[in-house]
Symmetry: C2
Amino acid sequence: MPVTLADIARELGVSKMTISRAINNHPLINTETRERVLEVARRMNYQPNQYARALATNRSYLIGIVVPDLMNLYFAEVARSIEAVARPAGFQLLICSTEEDPTRELDEVEILLQRTDGLIISSVLPPTETKAYRKMIKDGAKIVLVDRTMKNLRCPAVATDNVEVGRLATEHLISLGHRRVGHLRGDASSVSTERLEGYKQSLAKNKLRLDGSLVRACGLLESEGYEAMRLWLKEPDVPEAIFAVNDPTAVGAMKAMEEAGLRAGRDIAIVGAGNIHYGDMLRVPLTTVSWSRGEMGQQAAHMLIHQIESGSPVKSKQIILPPELIVRSSCGVKPTAKIRSSVRLEGHAMKR
Amino acid sequence: MPVTLADIARELGVSKMTISRAINNHPLINTETRERVLEVARRMNYQPNQYARALATNRSYLIGIVVPDLMNLYFAEVARSIEAVARPAGFQLLICSTEEDPTRELDEVEILLQRTDGLIISSVLPPTETKAYRKMIKDGAKIVLVDRTMKNLRCPAVATDNVEVGRLATEHLISLGHRRVGHLRGDASSVSTERLEGYKQSLAKNKLRLDGSLVRACGLLESEGYEAMRLWLKEPDVPEAIFAVNDPTAVGAMKAMEEAGLRAGRDIAIVGAGNIHYGDMLRVPLTTVSWSRGEMGQQAAHMLIHQIESGSPVKSKQIILPPELIVRSSCGVKPTAKIRSSVRLEGHAMKR
DNA sequence: TTGCTGGGAGTTACCGGTAACAAATAGTCT
DNA sequence: AGACTATTTGTTACCGGTAACTCCCAGCAA
């Protein structure tokens, strides 16, 4: 039914190859012939068959994106910035959400590798589980990790310094005078692990004892932060300040607080990470640690496209974006707090 | 490099066809042979080449999704619910964001049709611009419209009753005693047009004059709502209540109000539409009109998949989801307000 | 024994492009 | 004129699957 190269060739009385050359702007073709072909192609509304092209060239011009959660605006923003780079380069995006499920991630990746030129993955695997990816990369898979990286995996990656994220958040809470600083520590992913590490470092540096009861595991989803906090609030000795592993869990935790009649920033200080959109518009504007999601997506896209276009140089460049603290009011900031260099004060925190 | 059917065939000393049959669970194959083939395939880590399969069968098991804005959680939720249906059915998602740009939409759709089995589109075209889609559908394209439909286009669709959305929002504001009820009316899309119609109907029904200065056009993005409101606030005679065409613009407008030292729900009442995630966690919880995004995505996915699997029955079924008002506090609701049937009271609006 | 039946495997052609090489044509050089 | 070159077009084979058809052979009835 659809028009093929052969149809146009017949119409013009030339060979398929001539048409193919014209369509692809091949240098070895008469300019005049090309014009004529393109004219007819347009008239017949020719659309190249992407399957056939991909089969012949082994290039699909598709980039696969694997994110943990589409409903997390953080990843929506990363995806959008990838698209901003990929589109002009002629690539389209195949997006998958793993819902923070490692098994699902591996399944999806396996399938996506078959139909894309390369993948940008924000992995939810534990950072030590590199076996599967190691094998894929050895077999020629083009992969770039974003946001969540894996130690010991020779693979290009863009992320932030998550230990520093943990330190910035925790030290800010400590600097505000809190002594019982707790942590909603997420899961076993690299991100969670590193932020936890930063949290520990800060406690140590300030001679605060790391009390097991101060740390609670939860997932990385808002609902999980909510649930963890809801349970925590039923116990005695809830910490006076909390560093939540990311913004969605922080939001969830704040919801739980509200339901318990508590107010973030007044009764319990809380700091998130990721600087999601809407964070500054929340009931209690969320103090958070931020780095550029746009930069993240763009860099990842550039690295992947470069890798695709240039064969496979396997330069495993790792880009680390610097995090900065954004002080709003969920941390209950006092105007007298000492503000360090990587801190930005915003909106409501200014009120005195 | 990757393993092909031929490789396995050679290994086993049989023909490609036998392998193909085994892989696809073809009925005309000896069960024992199949076992043997599958065993070897697994051992060799065979992954079928999707391009080749798609070329031969003209089926890609890809569904294209075209949404106006990935950063709008509304669409993220629709996309997620589409995925929830499509995945188990063996389909993957190719997602495109048009950034509310009609030209871009047509470009993308053209390309996506070439590499997918069907499209789910939330169109940003003016509702009368049906020519392009009409042609594609005639040529066999399988398309389902979601959220934003087009009049006079024989095509399955899922949407809400947007005239009713406009009425619910506007009448609520009127019922609260406001007389100068304004409208941020979005763009020329079907959604905006119909909500505007609902707004007009409500004014008429309540014997209120439709004053041109009460209606302001803006896009559908948060940034555009912000900008429109910012300018509006510089003029005299800003309305005392505003129905914003959707939640993002309402949020943008609230930002502009805050910057001007005004507070939504106290100085200016505002109602949005769409019930985005976070709407209830905002500084001023957003009163909005809601319908099920999950239902929307699921129904659309079902209709498209049915259409794909069954050839093309072209039943242009249109599903309309009922909207309901969700009262929070951005409308400045007074506890005495009469509440009608399709209204839900939430959280802060309950305080008295 | 012959002929028929049907399950199971093989053959061939094709899906719609592209790479690599061959061929034709025109123009140039000696 | 003959050989050579450059430019443009055509031929052939192949990418990795699948549909449709053919073929083979065991089992069984006549």
